[in-house]
């Protein structure tokens, strides 16, 4: 038996009690998104509740199903029955859950989300009927929420490291050929064919070579990499090991942003476990190939998500991107040939090697095969993470799974993948989630962080945010970038304050054009949001520019707060005002405009009495 077969046998034994539980099994999802809403308290309450009742059951910590809107998520699996997912299971509901399931022997429909089966059971609908789940293709996320991310045996028992074992029996060129045939391209936003990038590294004549994982995930609103790292870290490790074998790299770095402490912890633990099992180290699975990994914890910098910035950061300096060529495959970290790939790009490799390129290409669109993970946030009813085949219409994710904007509001726009990706108008929400439709509109698909806007939001305000972000994160090396983003920001802020000039659009276009010559993608793409605004939201911009009006009443310089009716909530409004601007004269309330900071607190307290009006209108 090869080393891998031995591992598989042992892992299957360890996983068996959870594959077909002979006694009740309770899984509690403990991840970044669930911890912040009390998942650890839920876990403690489950353990305490079982002990108090003297009940015998297995309790497992798992990762995230992607149902952030329903966290904490708990699965209860009674012997001989499919598991049932329960949502919003805070500690105070644990007693009722235990009583209704383990004690009474059934389910608790009022607390349940779905049953993990094709048909309803005990009054609980099947998983496929959950709006968030409809049409999902869980390949990358197959283990997320199902296994304990801190147990390598769970991963191996469910097919983990089989891809690596297969790869080790092939030549490096054969492995790359398989990856090329799958059509996999970089999931971090650049969309460069992964097989080709690996091949550049394979043919580099210098050693040592390095595989680097870009786990910086700096795009605000994007949290798909986070999910994979904390729910299935071994998927990433296996992908990097396969990449190392295919390219001749013997060492790898996983650069995880500082804002992700749990992924750092789980990834480090997974690496230790992989070493213990002979999957990382001098003799990977007994093949003679040596490969090891190290986690590098970032310290807060968006451009460290740019591959040459990331490399500079690992080397111990400011994360300032460099002009390419030379590309990392020629001279990367420490001057040696390297590849920087996204977490999700690596995560696809084990699936491709395990199941073959033919399986991989069985889903997707005509031009683009496979799946992509998307995170959904902003003005949607259901925030979460979803895996969809490439080419899926964005409306399926935003309106279908996400449920669209809250009651009474209309969809306005969607930011598809990070601040540099652009803004898609509501009329285009049916756009296919693949690169070409976005490029045609002067935008990019990006890293998959969908942020949804509705009609209570302002496009100019959003552009100010994107340009502020671009400017703040500019590394400072080239004037084109730090000055270009700064000028764009100044002009936008002036417009939002009611001091726009008719020459502003021309100057902004000139800036955008000039920024194409910046040192790296950051400034080249920074004006994308503003260009989207010109192309799709010109009317709204013109309202600000020529009529000093913000239709959504968001831009603070273009609104004023006034008392328009009397109500008995006005004393609350007076009390909450941080600057004592809600003033009472002779029993009549008014707002002292000199003091008002337009924070909206008074209107929250007295929405009938206080209104937001145009500052420059009647």
């Amino acid at each position: 038996m090869s080393t891998y077969d031995e591992l598989k046998v042992r892992a299957a034994k360890a996983w068996q009690p959870f594959e077909e539980p002979q006694r009740p099994l309770i899984k509690v999802g403990v991840t970044t998104c669930s911890r912040v809403v009390g998942a650890l308290e839920t876990l403690a309450a489950v353990r305490a509740g079982l002990a108090a009742r003297g009940l015998e059951a297995d309790v497992m910590v798992t990762g995230c199903w992607g149902l952030c809107y329903a966290e904490p998520v708990v699965e209860v699996r009674l012997p001989g029955r499919p598991g049932v997912l329960y949502g919003n299971l805070t500690a105070d509901k644990v007693a009722a859950l235990i009583e209704g399931t383990l004690v009474a022997g059934g389910a608790v429909p009022e607390l349940a989300l779905a049953v993990l089966a094709d048909a309803p059971l005990d009054g609980v609908p099947p998983l496929g009927s959950l709006e968030f789940f409809a049409g999902q293709e869980r390949r990358l996320m197959a283990n997320c929420g199902v296994i304990d991310p801190e147990e390598i045996d769970h991963y191996i028992a469910r097919g983990g490291y089989e891809g690596l074992a297969k790869a080790l029996a092939m030549t490096d060129e054969q492995v790359i050929a398989e990856v090329l045939e799958s059509g996999l391209w970089g999931r971090g936003g650049a969309a460069f064919p992964t097989g080709r990038k690996w091949d550049f590294l394979r043919t580099a004549p210098v050693t040592p070579k390095y595989m680097i994982c870009n786990a910086d995930e700096g795009d605000p609103g994007s949290f798909v990499n986070r999910n994979l790292m904390e729910s299935d870290p071994h998927l990433v490790i296996e992908g990097m090991a396969i990449g190392g074998y295919a390219t001749g790299a013997a060492y790898g770095y996983i650069y995880i942003r500082d804002e992700y402490p749990l992924p750092v912890e789980r990834m480090e633990k997974a690496i230790r476990q992989a070493r213990e099992q002979g999957i990382l180290g001098e003799n990977v699975l007994g093949s003679g190939f040596g490969f090891d990994l190290e986690v590098v914890r970032g310290a807060g910098s968006y451009v460290c998500g740019e591959e040459t910035g990331l490399i500079a950061s690992i080397e111990g300096s400011r994360g300032m991107p460099k002009i390419r060529p030379p590309f990392p495959a020629q001279a990367g970290v420490f001057g040696k040939p390297s590849n920087v790939n996204n977490v999700e790009s690596y995560a696809n490799a084990p699936l491709i090697l395990r199941n073959g390129a033919a399986w991989y290409t069985s889903v997707g669109s005509e031009k683009h095969k496979g799946t992509k993970m998307f995170s959904l946030s902003g003005q949607v009813r259901r925030v979460g993470i979803r895996e969809a085949p490439l080419g899926t219409p964005m409306s399926e994710v935003v309106m279908g799974a996400g449920g669209g904007p809250p009651e009474g509001r209309a969809l306005k726009a969607v930011q598809p993948g990070g601040p540099l990706s652009g803004i898609v108008p509501a009329s285009d929400v049916g756009i296919a989630l693949e690169p070409e439709p976005f490029r045609e509109r002067g935008m990019g698909l990006g890293s998959g962080g969908l942020v949804v806007m509705d009609d209570s939001n302002c496009i100019v305000d959003l552009c100010i945010y994107f340009e502020w972000f671009a400017e703040d994160e500019s590394c400072g090396r080239c004037t084109t970038c730090f000055a270009g983003t700064r000028r764009l920001l100044e002009i936008l802020r002036r417009i939002a304050a009611g001091r726009g000039r008719s020459s502003d659009p021309e100057i902004m276009r000139l800036l955008a054009d000039t920024m194409r010559y910046a040192n790296c993608f950051h400034a080249q793409a920074a004006p994308t949001a503003v260009m989207s605004m010109f192309r799709f939201f010109e009317e709204e911009l013109n309202e600000h520019l020529y009529h000093k009006r913000c239709p959504a009443k968001v831009c603070r310089g273009l609104v004023r707060y006034e008392v328009v009716h009397h109500s008995d909530r006005l004393p609350e409004a007076e009390a909450i005002c941080p600057t004592a601007a809600v003033v009472r004269d002779n029993g009549h309330y008014r707002i002292d405009q000199a003091k008002c900071i337009k924070c909206d607190a008074c209107r929250e307290q007295a929405p009938y009495a206080i209104a937001v009006l145009d500052a420059f209108g009647l």
Binding site: E259, V296, A299, R318, Y465, G587
Partner: protein, 187 residues
């Protein structure tokens, strides 16, 4: 590819091996804390994190020590230190309110929350109050967007928050009682 490090020992005041006689106690502690870390591997960020974990920030005295250890100049080291937004170069306040600057929080009203907090707490973003009791710090989106708009306080996530919630929270931190609404006189 140009190497950033200066290379030769003469460019830093002392080598990593020799401890100068006039080194402060703090600098000595930093040296101990980061012993074994070097520029040959990805250790600079590790050094920053270790020091910040110990002191809450990276003190100025650490700069020449690290420069020697990582074989670079103090100005290059300072450039790296200043570059990373999660690393502090001055002591934090006793209690820091972290404000999320992300787009989901923005769309759901975080700007109003920021404005109100700056007013009630009495300090600008990324600054402390003059008595260093309270501070306000801008943080980046970490994907906990189901709680947008949110604040973080001593590791706890608070959200979704209304502006009124944020004001009451800030007043509580300042030790102020929320002003009771006056009884209506007439009309």
């Amino acid at each position: 590819m140009t190497k950033i490090t200066a290379g030769t020992p003469h460019s830093s005041r002392y080598t990593a091996v020799d401890t100068p006689p006039d080194e402060t106690e703090l600098a000595g502690q930093v040296r101990e804390l980061t012993a074994g870390l070097s520029s040959d591997s990805a250790d600079l960020l590790t050094a920053f994190h270790r020091i910040q974990h110990e002191y809450g920030y990276v003190p100025e005295e650490a700069i020449p020590v690290l420069a020697g250890q990582f074989r670079t100049t103090p100005s290059m080291l300072y450039g790296a230190l200043d570059f990373y937004s999660e690393i502090r170069t001055s002591p934090p306040a006793k209690t820091t309110v972290e404000w999320c600057s992300g787009p989901a929080c923005l769309l759901k009203g975080s700007t109003n929350i920021r404005r109100a907090l700056e007013s009630v707490l009495g300090c600008a973003m990324n600054e402390n109050t003059s008595d260093r009791a309270l501070g306000l710090r801008l943080v980046q989106c970490d994907g906990t967007c189901h709680l947008a708009p949110l604040l973080r306080l001593e590791g706890r996530y608070l959200g979704p928050l209304s502006v009124s919630d944020a004001i009451k929270l800030a007043r509580g931190l300042k030790g102020e009682e929320p002003a009771a609404p006056e009884a209506e006189a007439e009309g």
